[in-house]
Amino acid sequence: MNPNLYLWMIPLLPLTGAAVNGLLGRRFSKKTVAGVALFFSGTAFLLALRVLLSYSSLTLPYVEPGISWIRSGEFHVNFAFYLDQLSLLMLMVVTGVGFLIHIYSVGYMWDDDGFYRFFSYLNLFMFFMLMLILANNYLVMFIGWEGVGLASYLLIGFYFLKDSAAAAGKKAFITNRIGDLGFLIALFLMVQHFGSLDFQRVAAGVAQLPAEVAGAGVLTAIGILLMVGAAGKSAQLPLYVWLPDAMEGPTPVSALIHAATMVTAGVYMVSRSHVIFDKAPTALLVVAIVGTLTALFAATIGIAQTDIKKVLAYSTVSQLGYMFMACGVAAYSAGVFHLMTHAFFKGLLFLGSGSVIHALSGEQDMRQMGGLRKKIPWTFWTMAIGTVAIAGIWPLSGFHSKDEILWKAYSQGPSKMIWALGVLTAFITSFYMFRLLFMTFFGDYRGSLESGDQGHDAHGPDLGHGHGHGGIHESPALMLVPLVILAALSLGGGYIPALKFLAPVFQTESSIGHTGAIATSEPALEESADKGTERFLQFVSVGVALLGAFLAWLLYLKSPYLPAQIAAWAGGLYRTVSNKYYVDEIYNWALIVPLLAMSRKWLWKGVDQDFIDTVINDSADATADTGGVLRRMQSGNLRSYAAWLTAGGAVVLAYMVWLGVH
């Protein structure tokens, strides 16, 4: 049967790494800290690799029972681990990309003072993410879910001396928590209806229930609530505000958490509970709508951003919108496939932007950049590959996954509108990505960095290839190697047979399509007519991508003055878009201000001050007054006591006589 996969070892290693670095890091030298971090994440990656290699001899899904955690009545939860194709793929992505980013951040964070703290948080994040992926039931997944939120808070707020970083950290955590509330309520409903949170038990419970076509019922509720959780974690429309602000954290953090792994947790969770969504078409519709709208919305904001990391952040939100759009049309495998490829090229783009910022020693505003092609060639070429991949141009991985989603949206989607919006978003995506590329690497250098070095660009001589101080310089090898690897993955990623790999996960559980019209399983789709249309749609999407690239080239290279004119002509529209549709301000005005006002005026003044204080003070006064009255009785005069005595006696006697009479 299955060899012992030591699944529990995989999350445990980063945890020990985090503990060692966190507790003893202060006394270690930077090299030892880096060594410890890389060793533990590396071994985790090797273990995952060992599992992947022995994949052929495995009979998945493989459940590894762990120690029991909760046992109340018949509701049991234990630390069990679950492995199937989906979690294996996620495992590979998380450990692989995670390990690369660890290597990159050694170089990037070398001259930062919180070195050991950064790596212990990074390992901690890895541990929680692995717990989330390998969980056998929703509760352990929820531990990972919260842990990842915590790690993101710690990492975003890494430069805690900067107020904006701390505020961003808090904002991220609170928005996540709002999403988690939905997730929790969904869990409660599951416990109530299915009596357990294990994936198999839940799936079995769902199987007995009829499909809720009418759009109301337990499964729909659970589905929508799960979507709310996913929206919180994966920065979808209502709760995406924290992701752009999360750019306050160091770039490797953005790469790891806000591109490759954490934000994809929502997609993983939705695809993991596809069983529920299959039986709740309305919930699925909601997912699709939210996904599409987020994609379009974020893409439009991306156009007007000037900060290089903000552009990438909005592009992440937009790509996540794509993934949810895929799940929304019940094409979970396409969604996960795009997740994987996105992890590669978005990680690459973020790390690339990191090395650009590193090169320009902290400069993030694209208007200060330009013409860096010659100065940092390696970064330029890797970033170029990433941009082409994300735009979805033919040979690269981006095309394969995005086109798969568009095709599924067209063929299975509830309405053709989703496909149309998808294509429009693709056009805008390729436009702002190429805008970024041209503004940073082409044209002449608009920055002011020519003379002496500013900021923290000095880097350890022993690592980099000894490039002198000052001036724009290429990043050291330690940072470039991960870039090159990711570039390679972005190139070849599309050809990884993810779809066939994931087929058994989604094929066995659901046989009925969400609209019941067309069987969802991919292999059953091989009619020739569809092949034709699919071929045609692929040409449409590549065409759109090339059009976006040409338009960017036209505006930013051929005639650089044009964007300023368009901005002036657009006027109000341009200002709203560049100010992110004032969403933050709206939230602030609609939610935060009234909340503060209510709590200050009503809770603090009204309830606490007026009600509670007065009650206490009044009772104190009352006792004091009665004390005053009684005090006078103790006059010390014997004869007054005698009088009271006689009075008492008289009353008692009267009562007894009265009693006797009746």
Partner: protein
């Protein structure tokens, strides 16, 4: 033939005089004596009821009341002496503070 109620009225009057003394008198010893008077009133009603119900236990109780009255008188008078020794007055209205 004397109706029992006469005896009880007499004991009631004695008791009332005792209580009056207790209330009106200023001298501690006189107050103490009015208490004895009250006890005597009670003794009389004890004996009266004993003879009414032909139970000697009434009279036995009179002994116990006397014993208690004796004990009380002894201790009470000792206290009065010590009060007089420290306060130099027997007027109850003067003796109203716990400290000297």
């Amino acid at each position: 033939m004397v109706p029992l109620s006469y005896y009880l009225v007499l004991s009631a009057i004695l008791f009332a005089c005792g209580v009056l003394g207790f209330l009106l008198k200023r001298n501690i010893i006189t107050i103490f004596m009015s208490i004895e008077l009250m006890l005597n009133g009670v003794n009389l009603s004890f004996v009266a009821f004993a003879s009414q119900w032909h139970a000697l236990s009434g009279q036995i109780f009179v002994f116990f009341v006397m014993v208690v009255a004796a004990a009380e008188a002894a201790v009470g008078l000792a206290i009065i002496i010590s009060v007089y020794r420290t306060r130099d007055t027997l007027n109850v209205d003067r003796v109203d503070l716990l400290k000297l």
